[in-house]
């Protein structure tokens, strides 16, 4: 029987935190990339693409993330992919994040005055160029507080991947708890670590919001 001191517990938890951080970063980056494609579909001029975009967003925002993760975990092997908890977790959170980011950015695009598109067109820009050079930079800027806020939500959501077996912070905590029988300390510390990760971002989002010019 190995004895765990408080510092052993803390050290193990902090080591496990890098997986939580890495998963959050990968899911946010992946979600931004996929979300951009969904955004393009959502604001496209073709009705069927717009419908696809809004259906995609409604689907991911209307179902539990836990179910999405399970479907990834059990569904991808059926398509012939060998899948491990890490892949299922990263893919599941990427799609989840893409729906939310697309919706956030769509809000930004729609908040821009029509004249921005017209001005782009009058300069002879193609629709994609308009998006890239005129619309998206402004849409990203005004939705930055919401995007940072979503990052906080995403970091918290990584805790769910412990259920499909990804060895992040919470799963490590479960293992430590099974060895030490000190749930109060272990889960308390996990909460503190998540708080330390999330609180600065929350404050940052709040600061961005305060600094944003009124529209």
């Amino acid at each position: 029987m190995i004895e765990f001191t408080f510092w052993d517990i803390l050290r193990n938890l902090i080591f496990a935190t890098r997986w939580t951080a890495l998963l959050s970063a990968v899911a946010f980056a992946g979600g931004a990339a996929v979300g951009l494609a969904i955004l393009a579909a959502r604001i496209s001029e073709r009705p069927w693409l717009r419908r696809f975009g809004s259906g995609y967003i409604a689907l991911f925002q209307g179902t539990p993330l836990l179910m999405q993760l399970f479907l990834m975990f059990f569904g991808l092997p059926m398509l012939g992919f060998r899948i491990e908890p890490w892949t299922a977790a990263a893919l599941g959170l990427t799609f989840y994040a893409s729906a939310y980011l697309a919706e956030i950015w769509r809000g930004g695009v729609e908040a821009l005055p029509r004249g921005q598109w017209d001005a782009g067109a009058s300069l002879g820009l193609h629709r994609l160029q308009e998006l890239r050079l005129v619309i998206l930079p402004q849409a990203f800027a005004i939705t930055r507080p919401a995007a940072v806020g979503f990052l906080v939500q995403l970091i918290k959501s990584t805790a769910l991947t412990s259920i499909i077996g990804f060895e992040e912070l919470l799963r490590t905590a479960n293992a430590i708890n099974n060895a030490t029988f000190e749930p109060f300390t272990v889960y308390g510390l996990v909460a503190v670590i998540f708080f330390v990760l999330c609180y600065p971002l929350t404050q940052y989002a709040r600061m961005l919001e305060r600094r944003a010019p009124a529209h």
């Binding site: 749930p183 889960y187 999330c198």
Partner: protein, 222 residues
């Protein structure tokens, strides 16, 4: 490639799924009522004269909003017994869900209270109403009307997040899915069906709230 989808098990599983869905609806119904009551109290406390109250509510909101719901749930269900507070899984789930949702709805309710023009309460006071009457009869209905859509979204988010209480063996929809897939070995199909049921539930809850809100709070609720 020998894997075909099969939904033959669904006939026998319908009862269990319906039972789970009913439990999920029960959990979110309790959470909604308790959570909104608490958040009205907390929003009022946040605007009270007492600095201690204001501070305490602010700390509660920050702590809950910056930690995962699953960790809060484990802390309440596994951690609190070391302090002698032992909760039944269903009670623990409702407590965790209520405390989690209230942290978000306190802010929403507060924003609604701030949105009611000051003239409303001044007019009510001028008519001789007592402070409590002014709050319940004048301020609150108007505030609720403003925040109704945000409140509805928060309830739906909480219902979707309630899937994780399956982890402390509350027999709601997600937990029934776990049990079913262990029995039928049809994991993908099981979670697929249950995911669709969650989707239907969240659409139904939104409809219900919009219809109910129109009746209770009057027109203009969307």
């Amino acid at each position: 490639m020998g894997y075909g989808l099969s939904f033959g098990w669904l006939k026998d599983a319908a009862g269990a799924i319906a039972h789970g869905a009913a439990m999920t609806v029960f959990l979110i119904a309790c959470t909604t009522v308790l959570g909104i009551l608490i958040s009205i109290l907390f929003a009022a406390a946040r605007r009270s004269r007492y600095a201690v109250l204001r501070k305490a509510v602010a700390v509660y909101v920050e702590v809950v909003r910056n930690t995962p719901f699953l960790v809060q749930l484990f802390f309440i269900y596994f951690g609190l017994p070391s302090l002698g507070i032992r909760l039944d899984p269903i009670v623990a789930a409702i407590v965790a869900m209520t405390l989690n949702m209230a942290a978000y709805t306190t802010e929403i309710v507060g924003a609604g209270l701030d949105a009611v023009p000051k003239g409303q309460s001044e007019a009510a006071f001028a008519l001789g109403l007592k402070p409590r009457q002014v709050f319940i009869k004048i301020i609150l209905p108007q505030a609720l009307k403003v925040i109704f859509p945000a409140l509805t979204s928060q309830v739906i988010i909480m219902m979707l997040e309630s899937a994780v209480v399956s982890q402390i063996a509350v027999r709601e929809l997600a937990h029934e899915a776990d049990l079913l897939q262990a029995r039928t070995f049809r994991s993908f199909e099981t979670y697929f069906v249950v995911t669709l049921i969650y989707l239907a539930l969240s659409m139904a809850v939104r409809r219900l709230f919009v219809a109910g809100g129109r009746r209770v709070l009057g027109a203009g609720v969307s």
